[in-house]
């Protein structure tokens, strides 16, 4: 199913115009059977999130909750892979054909969040945020991410670096951020992200003596000592 999915930008544009014309009626009426379970699980999780009345949709905790659930159901029930996650076509399809109402509720009528800007498609962003932070299991990943903010999502997902993400490096940065986050250094994540980008011009973390763990320790210790 995934490999045969064709959903061009032109198709996405047409679909988005329909949503724009009638945003309140954007819930899909006829989704392919393959995606029914996915929609069911994710929409249920959306409702679960709001059981606590104080929760807001326009929040980091909503993005984290939805990202983690999307990641887990795609991984466990849909054999979703990095190869698929790299294809904007997949995210356009999910955003406009399976979850248009969800994306609309979260971001309103912003075409870049549905399909237009590959770096801003919301479902894609929250999936990669979880993937780049994954600690082997959902609970551990949630534990590492729960205290963060929307700025961390932006710093992590936007700063892919030239040529793409170094997935293992990103995961280690997130693991250690949990340890050092309570320090008194303001904007620590933003700072280490910038330092990392600069150092990557010269050094390959996986080839450093002591490996990625040591490389990341050095990034944090630059600001902490």
């Amino acid at each position: 199913m995934w490999e045969n999915l064709i959903y061009t930008k032109a198709q996405a544009k047409v679909k988005y115009q329909q949503i724009e014309a009638e945003p309140e009626g954007s819930a899909p009426s006829n989704i392919k059977p393959f995606f029914k379970l996915l929609r069911e699980v994710i929409m249920k999780e959306k409702n679960n999130f709001f059981i606590d009345n104080s929760q807001k949709i326009n929040s980091y905790s909503f993005d984290l909750h939805m990202g983690l659930n999307l990641y887990c159901v795609l991984k466990e029930k849909y054999a979703f892979t990095e190869r698929l996650a790299a294809q904007d076509e997949v995210w356009r399809y999910l955003s406009l054909e399976i979850f248009p109402d969800l994306v609309y509720d979260r971001h309103g009528l912003k075409d870049q969040r549905f399909y237009k800007d590959p770096r801003r498609i919301w479902l894609k962003t929250i999936w990669w945020y979880i993937h780049l932070s994954w600690q082997g299991a959902a609970e551990e990943t949630f534990d590492v991410l729960k205290e963060n903010s929307a700025d961390v999502i932006m710093q992590l997902v936007d700063r892919s670096g030239s040529g793409g993400y170094r997935v293992d490096l990103a995961r280690e940065i997130m693991r250690q951020y949990k340890i050092y986050n309570d320090s008194s250094i303001p904007q620590l994540f933003r700072r280490i992200s910038k330092l990392n980008t600069a150092r990557l011009n010269m050094t390959e973390p996986n080839l450093v003596e002591g490996g990625i763990e040591r490389y990341v320790e050095d990034l944090y210790s630059y600001f902490l000592n």
Binding site: T81, G161, E204, P205
Partner: protein, 314 residues
Amino acid sequence: MANRISMNKFFDEAMEELLNVNLNFDFFYKEVDGSKYILDQIVDHEFKILLKNEDDSWDYAEKGLGISGNIILGNPSSLFGPTQLVAMDAELGFAFEWMSKQSSQRGVIPLAAITSTTPNNVVIPVDHYFPKDKLFGEVYISLILYLKKASRNSVRGQAGYTGIILGELVEWNVILDGAGSTFPIVIVDEPEAPLWYVDFNYSEPLIEPFDKEYIAIYLNKAHVAFSAIKTPKTKFDQSLYVEFLSGALQIILQNLIETTDWQDIKEGKNCEEGSIGEVMHYFLTTFNWDFDAPERLAVSLRKDLESRLKSGEL
């Protein structure tokens, strides 16, 4: 353009000659039972490698891709010494570095290490397999040399930090999906739509790849004339095909001419590898298309495509 000032020596041609390096590599795939099959390599005009097996059945998405072979170093100790790439007590490593913008990922795979005592003519076997669920589109794979262990007696001009990449011995740009640098034609099935149309979604043509995500020529299989374009058989079909392709190309080129980047594209300046700008610059400098006025471009495009069709190039 950013300039980089080197604070230490890097692996250069003179060192490569002294090292006397010999590389033998093959791309291969594995069947479910583990048996290995070598893939043939076809290099296109942009030096991108297209891989195929005998019956053209290999598909990265189903089988994955491997690279294996060996590095033979005639004189590895030539890299070590007070005036050489690194000091006598340092350690150098070889690694595969892979980078795939379309997969949003990159990585390195350490392979082997050498020291000043590594014997001459040492053979280093290397082997790596990319699983089918990892990559998409294209991947750059290079064999790199890096500082694995720094010297205790650091000398000015020699790399002092481990993990620094000191040089590249070879690089491959492998196409995993698609046919490489052909026109980004997307087949759609839209009963209400015309036979073909063009869609633009690029904003930085000097950076963004010449890819259907940014520029696409849509060909509609629901249209009655689709088969004439897809597999032109008669002279009439061929004329229609030339009309289709020249019309689409003209729209793409006119659109680019109107951008502020056109001067750079014309001069081939600041264009990233594989970008829309780079491919268009190749067209500009390779074919005799006349860009002075839209009507002259239309005539020259048709003339050129028709002659290519006659000579069997299209």
